[in-house]
Symmetry: C2
Amino acid sequence: MEDEPSISKEITKSTDFYIGILLAVCSSLFIGTSFIIKKISLTRLSRIGALRAGAGGFGYLKDWFWWLGISAMGFGEILNFAAYGFAPASVVTPLGALSVLVSAILASKFLNEKLTIVGKLGCLLCILGSTMIILHAPKEEPLENFNLFLSKLQEPAFAHYMICMVVLCSAILCCLGPRFGSRYVCVYITLCSAIGGITVMACKAIGLALKSYSVTSLLSYPTFWLLSTIILIMAVCICVQITYLNRTLDLFNASIVTPTYYVFFTGFVIAESIVLFREWELMTAGDMAGALCGFFVTVVAVFVLSTSKDGHQQTRHLGVNTYFAVKS
Amino acid sequence: MEDEPSISKEITKSTDFYIGILLAVCSSLFIGTSFIIKKISLTRLSRIGALRAGAGGFGYLKDWFWWLGISAMGFGEILNFAAYGFAPASVVTPLGALSVLVSAILASKFLNEKLTIVGKLGCLLCILGSTMIILHAPKEEPLENFNLFLSKLQEPAFAHYMICMVVLCSAILCCLGPRFGSRYVCVYITLCSAIGGITVMACKAIGLALKSYSVTSLLSYPTFWLLSTIILIMAVCICVQITYLNRTLDLFNASIVTPTYYVFFTGFVIAESIVLFREWELMTAGDMAGALCGFFVTVVAVFVLSTSKDGHQQTRHLGVNTYFAVKS
């Protein structure tokens, strides 16, 4: 009889994990779809003669279809946010790759962007890599509630990590960025990813708080202010991320930016999980190797998908499509 | 004290597995290298003005370097053969993909065949897929010795499997082959793979016999004749395989034949492992999913590697290299 609470706790933990995975997958589904809906809306508007968004037009704001896309994206982000409350961050973040998969498949269905054989291989790899990441993820969450999270923040590891991040971000903002930012894609991507890691941590904190507390205790004295500070930090982080990601997208091709960002962002979140949340302490060496394999397969998939998609639009004259049309 | 023999048996089993993996990896190393050595020899001969092999020349028979290549290949095949005696067939066969990796890397080093970015991705995927296959392989060998193997042959599953194979091979040889063999690459590849599966079974039998018996009992009455029959069957199978693989290579491009053969051959060996050796009974659902992911990643890798390698030589005019030279 003594074992019963621990068994039911085990079951809750494992259920939590699968809820988290489901939320993360649904989130990717909505975010991937939102790209396509927005693009369909913009194409439709340009066809009826409205001024294009790229040329400074705002006609899309009057299109209900565009707003549907934005809503899908918002809903996807909320689901993603919720996923961090249930499953380890080192699983939820890499699963973001599925949104690239969803948008590649939908683009071939609804935007008549023919999926090349390379694109199809990318889709397959994306699914295989994600399956492996889920297979090898730590099924138990070391951070069960908000209090445990707060106790982690008081450990020296957190202070050390934050000092490193502040030094890194300042170095990029003040010195490396202006000098090398327009020449190397990694510079601002590192900044976005480092700050993205902090955003994930904040998401995790809020998710855990919403899961562990009732409304009244959420509004009670220390918790309320603590949560407000975390939300503020998160908002600032998201703004910085969006600003510098847009700057990078302006300077470099999306086919380079998307996979690089995916790798760096996931890398920072995994580093964080190791240093702060110790998520990997629960894993065997085999699981670590398997999860890393899954991660690298997904990296290749994201690289291939973004290259083949962009390649279709921008490098047709270089013959990559001819090549695969001949082959297939 | 009672547990001691079973513990030492466990250790032997696990050591056997890693010996098998090591043998399979070394085998791929030798076979991969042998392709390059033979090619270097042929290139060198054509440079000094000898009649090319493709045009009917036999000058290579006098070149010690060509013989070195043949020896490397033979030695590799022997190691591969030995690997089947130690590790499950469903691990040893897929690891054959590593020879494609080795020859791609060595070709870029010694034959000046520049490895494109797609080729590099293929190499990475090959390593990742193979790692996953090893991670998820059943670590215990259900067939410990030759007697167990013989008892498996008396089960109805073996008879059913052999009837299916005979029907399939006869259908291809008599009816499907002459009609569709020159139009579809799968026809003769299916024949080669089905017969290849039987070769693997024979290899396994001989490997187990060499492992379990002393020389005197190998030469004793029933075993000697049984083994001779198995060796004869194996020799016939290898001849049929080589004949029809060469016919397919004559009809189709190697970049299509290599990955197709890899997929079909490994597929038949895995089917055999399931039906006859029940290797997968020892695996959990997670391990099965992981091993399948690894297999498919390796399939993509072999496809990418053979396409990019051939692409470099044959499809330069289609611009695939230009494309990646611009990208990288």
